[in-house]
Every structure is written in structure tokens, then in C-alpha cells.
């Protein structure tokens, strides 16, 4: 994830499917590319990235594809006898088993802990063709109470988080909100009052609208201070 952040730093270029990125046998095909004869061909739309010999494509758009270890924000769709069926905004459904919740829960009343339409923060433990398995065991995972939910493009999550969390830390500090960004593009914001939450939402949308600009952290900091002063006047 860290290497995906500074899009403008190296000479990256937008490629389209079927385009030949480089020719020659010196390179190796990575994610989203394939070798065809002497050429490395892009198999999806995105930014081509050369890392030594390896060529890969960083996607710019598209739906969330669950990977093991992703921390996501989900929503409860249904309750079964041994867990929760949840929606994590991907093509396959996700299941959170009762055994993956690190606290005591009354087996007859699963809805006491998580009811239908409740949001929670969870980690993906397994991805199968049938579905995704989730766990709540881990730091900072669990039910999300209060606050607002914002949806962003999952491919822009690294940008919103920033290098070592610099961007999200800035927004958190300036807006006095707790913010959790799920890898699936769902963002949970909770502040003291609704105004703070909406302010944080505005800042996040400011970032997602300008993913291509370099030095974005400084621009966001300027935007936040301007907005703050504007609000007070």
C-alpha cells in the first residue's frame, strides 16, 4: 500500500487494455499485465509502474476486490444461527462467524451485539469463491456506533490515508473527528457534532477529487484552515 501513494513521483503513465507497455525480454509482467511474445501488454486500465524489472498496473477505477488481510467496513444484512451475513460492497458476500468475535455473546440474541444495518470494522481472514470470511479479532476492530458513513472509490483509499497516514492524520486533527477508512472505500466519521463530521466529509471529498495533484497534503492543510476561518467569520 505504501508504494502506491506517491503517484506523481516516478514516471508513471496511464495505460489502456491491450496497450504494449514495453517490449523486450528484460522485464517481468506483474499485476494486470501479461507477456505476449516479446511485449508486456496491459490487461487493464490504470497507471503502469516500473519497479526494477517488474511492471505492474495500479488500478484507478473499478470495484473493490477483497484480499486477505484487508481491513474493511461492513454492514449487517442478515443474522444466522452462528453469525452475521454482511455487505462489504464487493461482488461476493461476507460472513462474520460468531466464533470470530472476541467477547461473550448470547447465542440466542446475536442482534444484541450487531443488528441488521449496523456497521462494523473487520478484517478479511479468507477469500473463497463462495464468499469472504471476516474476523473482529484485532486492534480497533468492532462495532461502529454513531457517526456518518461516506463512500469513496476503493482505489483512492491509499491517497486518502497518505504516506504513513499523514493525510488522514491531518484531517483527523483539523476536524476533531475519529475517522476509519476501510479498504473497500467505506469511510466512517465520528465527531463531537454533525458540523465537524460534515467538515471531515468535505475534506475527504476534496482529496478524492484531486488524486492526481502532487503535494496534496499541503493543499488539504490550506483548504482546511481556509474553511475553518471562513466558517468563523
Amino acid at each position: 500500500m505504501e508504494e502506491e501513494i506517491n503517484i506523481e513521483e516516478s514516471h508513471r503513465e496511464i495505460v489502456i487494455p491491450g496497450e504494449i507497455i514495453v517490449s523486450g525480454s528484460d522485464y517481468l509482467p506483474g499485476d494486470g499485465t501479461k507477456r505476449e511474445g516479446n511485449d508486456i501488454v496491459a490487461y487493464r486500465y490504470g497507471l503502469s509502474d516500473k519497479n526494477g524489472k517488474l511492471i505492474k498496473i495500479i488500478p484507478l477505477s473499478g470495484v473493490f476486490i477483497p484480499r486477505r488481510g484487508n481491513v474493511i467496513i461492513g454492514r449487517v444484512n442478515d443474522i444466522t444461527f452462528n453469525g452475521w451475513l454482511t455487505d462489504i460492497d464487493s461482488a461476493i458476500s461476507a460472513f462474520l462467524p460468531l466464533s470470530e468475535v472476541p467477547r461473550y455473546i448470547d447465542k440466542n440474541n446475536l442482534s444484541d451485539f450487531l443488528d441488521i444495518s449496523d456497521f462494523f470494522n473487520a478484517k478479511i481472514t479468507n477469500v473463497k469463491s463462495k464468499g469472504v470470511d471476516l474476523t473482529l479479532e484485532g486492534k480497533g476492530l468492532g462495532k461502529l456506533e454513531g457517526g456518518i458513513i461516506v463512500k469513496i472509490n476503493p482505489n483512492k483509499v491509499p491517497r486518502v490515508i497518505g504516506k504513513e497516514g499523514s493525510m488522514i492524520k491531518l484531517i483527523k486533527d483539523e476536524t476533531n473527528c475519529k475517522i476509519t477508512v476501510g479498504q473497500n472505500g467505506i469511510v466512517w466519521i465520528r465527531g463531537e457534532n454533525v458540523e465537524d463530521e460534515l467538515f471531515a466529509k468535505k475534506a475527504i471529498n476534496f482529496v478524492t477529487d484531486r488524486t492526481f495533484i502532487s503535494g496534496l497534503t499541503d493543499k488539504v492543510s490550506k483548504f482546511l484552515s481556509e474553511e475553518k476561518n471562513g466558517g468563523k467569520k
Binding site: 487493464r44 473499478g62 458476500s93 488524486t211
Partner: protein, 244 residues
């Protein structure tokens, strides 16, 4: 158009060169709520395509556990031509949907997404012939924008034969041409890199030799259209709001 001494088709109705397309406009990211979208226009023929998915497929019996499926829905809007079209599926639109689906499916790779569907909606808000070609071109752009894995890029064009003259990108007036041998309208799609023909439909009369000529002409025209599509995809900056 009955000129007295001029039977052969020597000049096009809109003054274009025989191998020239109409003015092409291509824009990516026009539908903010879609996972991928694009607009593609050949002059007065406008097509808008929106792609949703890969997403879970219902009804379940249509699911394929080996790979994802694609559904294309082509529709002309009721006001797209001078005579109002009754909205909803028709014999013609169902056929074009299926044809476009086959043309596009030759490049998409949905093996990574079992039990899912990619929905492609093609809308024609304004029509002046060659709508299926504009539709396929728009859908190609939208699929790429949606991040669907593809091994090649599909581009489509229509080739006409007016009497004995080959023309690129047919307009309505040319479709209705009746002098000499009359009009033949051939819609075709190619994969850009491999140059493979992935779709061809013919309406009219044509000889073997002339058909081969038409396919060659179409291949050349597609190369030019591809460059415009490529430019549109490379230029798309983040102007589609939060979701995309």
C-alpha cells in the same frame, strides 16, 4: 437525390472524403454513479455506455461458477430519431444487444470473478445511422474505465458501399441511397492489437472481393478511431465525483 447525368456516387452527402469518419467525440466518466462510463459520438450519432460490476448475479441459476458473465443492454431512446420509438426492448434492440455482447466478450477476461455479472447499458440519445458501432465503442471505453480486465481493445466502424463506391462511417442519407447497385451497410468491430475481426453484420448486396476490400478499409478506420479512444481514456482526470 436524382441527378440527371450522375449515376455514380462521386460526392458524399455531407462533403466528407470517402475514407473519412464524421467528427468523433469521446468522453470518459460521464455517469457518476456507474463503475465506469463513457460517451462516444460519430457526428450526430451519440451513444452513452454505463458499466456496473462485477457484481453478484441474480437469479442464481444464471451464475457461472467458472467465470463472470456479461450482459449488454442496447436501447434507443424514444426521441433519438424523428419518428418516436416505442420504449422498451424490441426485436432490433435485442439483436444488437446480443451482437454487442459477443463483440465485447471476445476481449474481456472475467475468469477472476466467478458467479458475478458485468452489466453494460448502452443508450442512444441521438441517432443518425451507425448506432451499434458508436454503442460498441462507448461500451469498450466504459468497460476499460470500470477496470474490467481485457486482453485487447474493441473498436467498431461501419463501412458502406454506395453503388460501387466504398465509404467509411455511414449516415442515414447514405443508408437510404438507391442509385445504381444501391446501398450496402456493413458494421464491423476489430480488436486493436491483434487486428482480429470480432463482429460483422451486412445489410445489402456485395461481392466477395468487395467485402474483403471493405474489411481492410474498416480495419484502417478502426486504427484511427482507436487513437481517439485511447486519448479519451488517458485524458480522464478525476472529474466524476466521489465514487469514481
Amino acid at each position: 437525390m436524382g441527378e440527371k447525368n450522375n449515376m455514380a456516387y462521386t460526392k458524399r452527402f455531407d462533403g466528407r472524403k470517402f475514407d473519412e469518419t464524421r467528427k468523433i467525440t469521446a468522453k470518459v466518466g460521464v455517469v457518476p454513479n456507474a463503475d465506469g462510463s463513457a460517451m462516444f459520438a460519430f457526428g450526430d450519432t451519440v451513444a452513452i455506455a454505463a458499466v456496473y460490476g462485477p457484481k453478484q448475479l441474480h437469479p442464481q441459476h444464471m451464475q457461472n461458477p467458472e467465470k463472470g458473465i456479461m450482459r449488454v443492454n442496447y436501447q434507443m431512446m424514444s426521441f433519438s430519431v424523428s419518428e418516436r420509438i416505442r420504449p422498451g426492448p424490441s426485436k432490433r434492440s435485442t439483436e444488437i444487444s446480443k451482437i454487442s455482447e459477443w463483440a465485447l466478450a471476445s476481449s474481456t477476461l472475467l475468469g477472476e470473478f466467478p458467479n458475478t455479472v458485468v452489466d453494460v447499458h448502452i443508450m442512444i440519445p441521438q441517432a443518425d445511422a451507425s448506432t451499434r458501432c458508436a454503442g460498441i465503442n462507448a461500451a469498450s471505453l466504459a468497460l476499460a474505465h470500470a477496470g474490467v480486465p481485457m486482453k485487447d481493445f474493441v473498436t467498431s466502424v461501419s463501412i458502406g458501399k454506395m453503388d460501387k463506391q466504398m465509404v467509411v462511417d455511414v449516415i442515414k442519407e447514405e443508408e437510404d441511397y438507391e442509385e445504381g447497385e444501391g446501398a450496402t451497410d456493413i458494421a464491423m468491430s476489430f480488436m486493436n492489437r491483434s487486428g482480429k475481426l470480432v463482429h460483422i453484420q451486412l445489410d445489402g448486396k456485395i461481392s466477395h472481393k468487395e467485402l474483403k476490400e471493405a474489411v481492410e478499409l474498416g480495419k484502417k478506420a478502426c486504427k484511427k478511431i482507436y487513437e481517439i479512444q485511447k486519448k479519451a481514456l488517458k485524458e480522464v482526470q478525476e472529474n466524476t465525483g466521489g465514487k469514481n
